[in-house]
């Protein structure tokens, strides 16, 4: 059952060959049996899941089911879930049962999807390896001595290990796409404003965007269709109809113009990863696409600009954690300043502190122009590079990450080298563009991700580009040993 796709499971449920309760029990049993090895879940919500499954079964029997009704999913622990611990991977929120639902949580519940648990993640989504979590690192199912990527490491590992058919993630600088690449699953970051940020704990508000993880583009299309849409509760939500993603999957790729930025194929790219990407591009040629060399000259400035913009916004967003209204409070504070300082000092881990400090510095008097303003100017240059490119091509392709999964601890002591894991993904966040990672081969038994960036609001086209590739390749169907 765990090897069946979301589409197949939905068909089984409609046909009555299995019930959501059976399916949910099977998922919970696999999590119980296998998650000790992975640490992909912070909270497993067995009882609520079975209740939701029974309600879904009733809905299916009543003929009121949608494509996600009765389908189990794992939810990144950054999305508020009413009455269920929403920790964001932090000690700060270890005692926080959210008092309300995020819009994405609400929409998935309305669709009848069954949440089986909340997944592990880097603390407040700040990390590229899932090692900054208060709950310990997640292991990569392809090699348990290696990282799954981050920050949505638990969601990516859970799908890769076939614990759940689909899961949710969020992506501020690559936090869906990089773990998707390192775990060999499909992950999509939508256009900024496509998926509501309401109830999604904020890291860097001008970059954060929620999206789906699935084994295939086809399954991701169904989950994204349920997550996307305008929400009056998110001030940056976009008022624009959601495309019919599943209906767009089959369009032929004949004549598709694929831009290959020369900056994405230069130094720093692992030779094995480069060869796998090259092979994937040849596959696209055979599908009728045309490969066009392009240039994104400001590429090298994306990571530096990000490490001003994201920490600045983080330092502002995380000022709400003060030990007064919710979350961790230090014991026996001697005065109000001591209450704030110690609650924050004890509640946050080292990487979160580092980013708060950098952001506070960048925004402090006398430094604003040199850092934040400068980074926002560079951000425009990066966006303009893309706007020019999309006059020539339909999508842009390259590697999602410069290497395959690295070893646990390998980069933990060197923040800048860790930040460079996101060198190909960050620009899409700065520009607000949709982008996706597709499984595209292996190097020494570890998955490689193909990165596909689209123009604004072309999620349907991206999923189509992914689906057609997955019809002629089988990388996305490979299952890590020990999880078959």
């Amino acid at each position: 059952m765990h090897l069946r796709s979301l589409v197949e499971l939905a068909t089984d449920l409609q046909a009555g060959t299995c019930s959501s309760e059976e399916l949910t029990r099977a998922c919970l049993a696999r999590i119980e049996r296998l998650d000790e090895r992975l640490n992909a879940f912070i909270t497993v919500t067995g009882e609520q899941a079975l209740a939701a499954a029974r309600a879904a079964d009733a809905r299916i029997r009543a003929g009121q089911a949608g494509p996600l009704t009765g389908i189990p999913f794992a939810h990144k622990d950054i999305f508020c879930t009413r009455g269920v611990k929403t920790s964001c991977g932090s000690r700060m929120l270890d005692n926080f049962p959210a008092p309300y639902d995020a819009t994405v949580t609400h929409k998935l519940r309305e669709a009848g999807a069954v949440m089986v648990g909340k997944t592990n993640m880097d603390e407040f989504a700040m990390g590229s390896s899932n090692e900054t979590s208060f709950y310990g690192p997640v292991k990569n199912p392809w090699d348990e001595t290696r990282v799954p990527g981050g920050s949505s490491g638990g969601s990516a590992a859970a799908v890769a290990a076939r614990l759940v058919p689909v899961s949710t993630g969020t992506d501020t600088g690559g936090s869906i796409r990089q773990p998707a690449a390192l775990c060999g699953v499909t992950g999509l970051k939508p256009t900024y404003g496509r998926v509501s940020r309401y109830g999604m704990i904020a890291f860097a508000s001008s970059l954060d965007q929620g999206g789906p993880f699935a084994r295939s583009a086809r399954d991701a299309a169904l989950l994204l269709a349920a997550m996307a849409g305008f929400d009056g509760r998110d001030s940056t939500s976009v008022q624009r109809p959601v495309e019919d993603y599943p209906a767009m999957l089959e369009a032929p790729l004949q004549g598709l113009k694929i831009g290959l930025p020369r900056e994405y194929f230069s130094t720093g790219l692992d030779a094995g990863v480069g060869a796998a990407i090259e092979a994937a591009l040849q596959e696209y040629s055979r599908l009728g696409a045309q490969l066009v060399e392009i240039t994104l000259p400001n590429t090298h400035l994306a990571v530096p600009a990000y490490y001003v913009v994201a920490p600045a916004e983080c330092s502002s967003n995380l000022s709400r954690f003060d030990g007064v209204r919710f979350g961790y409070r230090a014991a026996n504070p001697k005065d109000l300043a001591d209450l704030y300082t110690r609650s924050r000092g004890e509640g946050f881990g080292p990487e979160v502190k580092r980013r708060i400090l950098i952001g506070t510095y960048a925004l402090s008097a006398g430094y604003y122009d040199a850092y934040y303003l400068k980074a926002q100017q560079v951000r425009r240059l990066i966006r303009e590079d893309f706007l020019r490119a999309f006059e020539l091509v339909d999508v842009i392709m390259g590697p999602t990450a410069p290497t395959t999964a690295f070893r646990l601890g390998e980069k933990a002591d060197d923040p800048v080298s860790m930040y460079l894991s996101d060198i190909y993904t960050i620009a899409a966040n700065l520009a607000g563009l949709p982008a996706m990672s597709l499984p595209a081969g292996f190097v020494d038994g570890l998955p490689v991700g193909l990165h596909v960036i689209g123009d604004y609001f072309t999620e349907g086209r991206l999923l189509n580009v992914g689906h057609r590739y997955q019809q002629v390749t089988d990388w996305h169907t490979r299952c890590p040993q020990g999880y078959e």
Partner: protein
């Protein structure tokens, strides 16, 4: 620009962020490395470039000025560390 330990302590104070004194040198080192990395931004002339605050350059949406949320104080305060009579409690501020 390199940050020394005094600068780190000052920033931590601005951020109301408790840092163990023995960790301050480590932070000074890693923050300086990040700032050195970020200095690459200075290699490009942006004097004529308008800053980009929102990726789609959208402006703030307005809505009718009507009440849309109900009072859920009790529920929201149920997750607070300490409350009394609907108020959040903190250590005494004024003697």
């Amino acid at each position: 620009m390199a940050l020394d330990t005094a600068a780190v302590a000052k920033i931590a104070c601005l951020a109301r962020l408790g840092i163990d004194p023995q960790d301050v040198p480590d932070y000074a080192h890693s923050l300086s490395a990040i700032l050195a990395f970020v200095e690459q931004l200075d290699t490009v002339d942006t004097s004529a470039v308008k800053p980009l605050a929102h990726p789609l350059e959208a402006t703030q949406r307005l809505r009718p000025d009507v009440v849309t949320e109900t009072d859920e104080r009790d529920e929201f305060q149920s997750v607070a560390p300490q409350t009394e009579d609907g108020l959040y409690l903190v250590p005494q501020v004024i003697e």
